[in-house]
């Protein structure tokens, strides 16, 4: 586990998903990269952290979530408004050739940016990581009920926000 290749193996197994999660939380590509690098630096310095971990993905999600929270605090300290950044344009989704999908992805990116940080984290992990509420609760240090209610609030807001476009394209 602690051989130099374990970092490459972890990267290949999880970096893609962690990047998407971080990009959705940080809403900034440079910050997402920095946080991902921070994670791997931490793992390189303390390989024992991940030894014996049963669910690597959930463990890594927890680590990057904490790193994202730290980033948020630093942004606040630097008086950079996190919600302003959340509203900024960032491409969360892969480009699409279908104009309807393209429109939906753009609107969804914007709508996600309007969700509070913690709701966005839960919605992301449920929709795009396919985690159960128990797994989300474990990763984010919440109760399963809190995870479920945050998801419900988040998805309701997304539905309301995207309803006109969704009705139009379906």
């Amino acid at each position: 586990m602690s051989s130099p290749d374990f970092l490459a193996r972890l990267y290949d197994d999880h970096a893609e998903a962690l990047f998407a999660f971080l990009l959705n939380l940080a809403r900034d590509e440079v910050d997402a990269k920095d946080l991902l690098q921070d994670l791997f630096v931490k793992l390189a310095k303390q390989p024992a952290l991940i030894e014996g971990v049963r669910d690597e993905r959930a463990f890594l999600v927890r680590l990057v979530h904490n790193l994202a929270i730290d980033l948020m605090r630093r942004r606040r300290t630097r008086e950079k408004n996190y919600e302003r950044l959340a509203g900024e344009t960032v491409s969360l989704f892969a480009p699409s050739t279908d104009p309807d999908e393209r429109a939906l992805r753009a609107a969804l990116t914007e709508a996600l940016g309007e969700l509070p940080f913690e709701q966005r984290a839960v919605v992301h992990l449920k929709l795009w990581e396919g985690l159960t509420f128990e797994a989300i609760a474990d990763a984010l240090d919440l109760s399963p009920n809190t995870a479920a209610s945050r998801y419900r609030y988040g998805i309701d807001k997304l539905r309301e926000r995207l309803r006109p476009l969704y009705d139009e394209i379906t």
């Binding site: 130099p4 970092l7 490459a8 990267y11 970096a15 893609e16 990047f19 998407a20 990009l23 990269k33 991902l36 690098q37 791997f40 630096v41 793992l43 390189a44 310095k45 390989p47 300290t77 491409s91 969360l92 989704f93 892969a94 699409s96 999908e101 939906l104 992805r105 969804l108 929709l127 795009w128 396919g130 998805i155 997304l158 539905r159 995207l162 309803r163 969704y166 009705d167 379906t170």
Partner: protein, 137 residues
């Protein structure tokens, strides 16, 4: 709008892939950090101090400046205090003496000679004859 359909539609949206070139950059940075540091002159305290001061270095610097000012002011004002103390030693004795004298005069005026006048030796009183008679009887 069906909730299940809506959520499934969102799930199908592919997330943006991670840029390929990041892999080597991130892994190289991580490997460098994981390697033992080359020995430099006492590198540990520097990193320790950085860790400590990182969250708000300006606040710490401000606090340090405030302490330096406080210590400077303290040092600057200590000397005159000592002079004043030294000067005030002799008059303090005089003041004490004056106070004692004043207290004595006040006591005199208030008419409590027991406090002011030294106690006179007791004059021998005439002995009671009654008790002698009682004893003789």
């Amino acid at each position: 709008m069906n909730t299940g359909d809506f959520e499934k539609r969102l799930e199908r949206q592919d997330m943006r892939p991670i840029p390929r070139e990041w892999r080597e950059e991130i892994l190289n940075a991580a490997r460098r950090a994981g390697d033992p540091q080359p020995s430099t002159i006492n590198p540990q305290p520097t990193s320790w101090w950085r860790e400590l001061l990182w969250p708000s270095p300006q606040a710490w610097a401000g606090l340090a400046v405030a302490w330096v000012l406080i210590l400077g002011l303290n040092a600057a004002t200590r000397e005159p205090v000592q002079v004043v103390t030294a000067q005030s030693t002799a008059p303090a004795r005089e003041v004490l003496m004056a106070l004692k004298e004043r207290r004595r005069l006040l006591a005199e005026l208030a008419g409590s000679p027991t406090q002011v006048e030294p106690q006179k030796p007791l004059a021998p009183r005439p002995r009671s004859e009654l008790s002698q008679r009682t004893v003789a009887g």
